[in-house]
Symmetry: C2
């Protein structure tokens, strides 16, 4: 099969590689669409020691498994540890994710997955839409956790209009938050988002029940600290870097919850798919498609901030 292989910092090559070998309980998924995630970019730049070259990146896939159209939950968990038994599969100490050794990723013709990681896709949902389940599921978990911590959530702010931020905004609305605003400073990106969601170039005044930081850098943490209401929740999904920005005095005196969010539980993933399939998350048309063979160019364009759509999908 063809694969887009990460061969070293800032280097991607299309190579012919052997098809994946499905272990017991696993099946081969022929990849139809696969998204480029911020964590793929992080690895591509050589900043993720958990993803050493050579490696096939990519973990946001839809495809065909034995004739079934499926979308893929890329987190492979043990199902036997205390966290898995509680349903907190994202906290499994033995968790694996495709695109991180020992598992190759989905920037390829096919990927091997445990059967239990697949969700069937109905006819009216396209492969492109189905490939969005993974990034949106992160926002589903973030919205669920933030709303629960805030107790009452009528008004939310999302910092960052990429796929994680937009997905979180759609999930907040689907979970009952009436007033959701996405802050996105990039004019091209913000213009693209208009019509999908309420946007702003900078954080509006006022106090928000839930603030999602889908960037995760010092300035967004500072903005989140200022914008959340007393007793509200900051949902920290982004991993932009740095250790500062939080106003710990305000967080303490105003009893604010700061929630680290990592991926999603298996139930979050299924709930996200159900919401996507019945239309609660909108038309899911905020993507741009490119051939897998032009993947290196896609990485370069994303890095240059020259992509309006929150998500590029590669087509093997």
């Amino acid at each position: 099969m063809k694969a887009l292989v990460y061969t070293g910092p800032e280097a991607l090559e299309v190579r012919e590689v052997p098809d994946p070998i499905a272990a017991d309980g696993e099946v081969e998924v022929r990849v139809a669409r696969v998204g480029i995630c911020g964590s793929d970019m992080h690895a591509f730049l050589g900043h993720d020691e958990r993803r050493p070259a050579p490696l096939i990146l990519g973990h946001e896939a839809s495809g065909l498994a034995g004739g079934r159209r499926v979308t893929v939950n890329p987190l492979v968990t043990c199902m036997t540890c205390p966290a898995c038994l509680r349903g907190e599969t994202n906290l499994c100490a033995r968790r694996q994710i495709i695109s991180m050794p020992p598992r190759e990723g989905a920037f390829a013709g096919a990927v091997a997955m445990p059967e239990r990681n697949l969700v069937d896709v109905p006819d009216h949902v396209t492969d492109a839409q189905a490939a969005l389940a993974e990034p949106i599921a992160c926002g589903w978990n973030g919205a669920r956790s933030g709303i629960a911590a805030a107790g009452v959530a009528d008004r939310a702010l999302v910092l960052g209009g990429g796929a994680i931020g937009l997905g979180a905004a759609l999930c907040l609305m689907a979970q009952g938050v009436g007033d959701v605003t996405v802050v996105e400073p990039n004019d091209m990106r913000r213009a693209f988002l208009d019509g999908h969601v309420q946007t702003a170039a900078k954080a509006p005044d006022g106090a928000f029940d839930v603030v999602v930081d889908a960037v995760g850098i010092d300035p967004t943490r500072a903005a989140a600290s200022a914008a959340v209401r007393p007793g509200g929740a900051i949902v920290h999904i982004g991993l932009g870097g740095g250790q500062g920005g939080l106003d710990l005095r305000r967080i303490t005196l105003q009893q604010i919850a700061f929630l680290g969010i990592y991926t999603y539980t298996a139930q979050d993933f299924r709930d996200t798919c159900a919401a996507m399939f019945d239309g609660r998350l909108g038309p899911l048309d905020w993507v741009e498609e490119r051939p897998l063979t032009e993947g290196a160019r896609a990485f370069a364009d994303i890095r240059a901030g020259a992509v309006a759509a929150p998500k590029i999908l590669l087509v093997p």
Copy 2:
């Protein structure tokens, strides 16, 4: 009446002042015992612009109100705003606390309080024990919030063996956490705590469901970040200062909740009193009593780290 008046940075004077005037719905509480809190020390050092001199400090009081023995919830809230109506009285935007203008504190012969802020004290509970309700209620809220966020809580760590830390540890145990350890580096203080609670001079190895930071400085936040298990909760009650120490990458990748905790709701205060009165919080004998007239000396001793007991109570 006599009062211990904060007259300027590092200055306290015993003065004769007029008795407090109880407004409509308020009663005069003759103070029997009143604790010295870290926030009183903060104000005494001139570091709290919300508490300008001259001012009577002190907000941890028990006493006599019209013949009834009572303990005092010092937070005066509006009872009509959305937060109060939700029961989140500690988030009331119009909240007041005695010892902060416009309300004088309880380092005095008497203090005026709304009737609804008083909890009756049964005969078998002493004035000294009753005066501990306020600091312990902070820990009750912290324990309740931390256990809820962690989901499962069998093992907890408390950083800091002052009244807030010890109170939080007792509340964690009363709320069902089987294994609770208090980390206290001061040998004299730790020796005093032995017998009341399991102690350690530094954080033991292992992963804890809930970590209470009852100090709130960069090193304790760093220790809390390292000690909490994936999916667990850090309860941040201390306001020691600084903005660093948190390991935001671990908090995010391991889905940890960092919870700012401010005081307690009116219900937390009542629940704390109920647990104190029926013995669930132990003998409550970890105090040292001194005359109000020697209050200045008590502040000096606390500042010098020369007090073994987690709490000094002043006796007017």
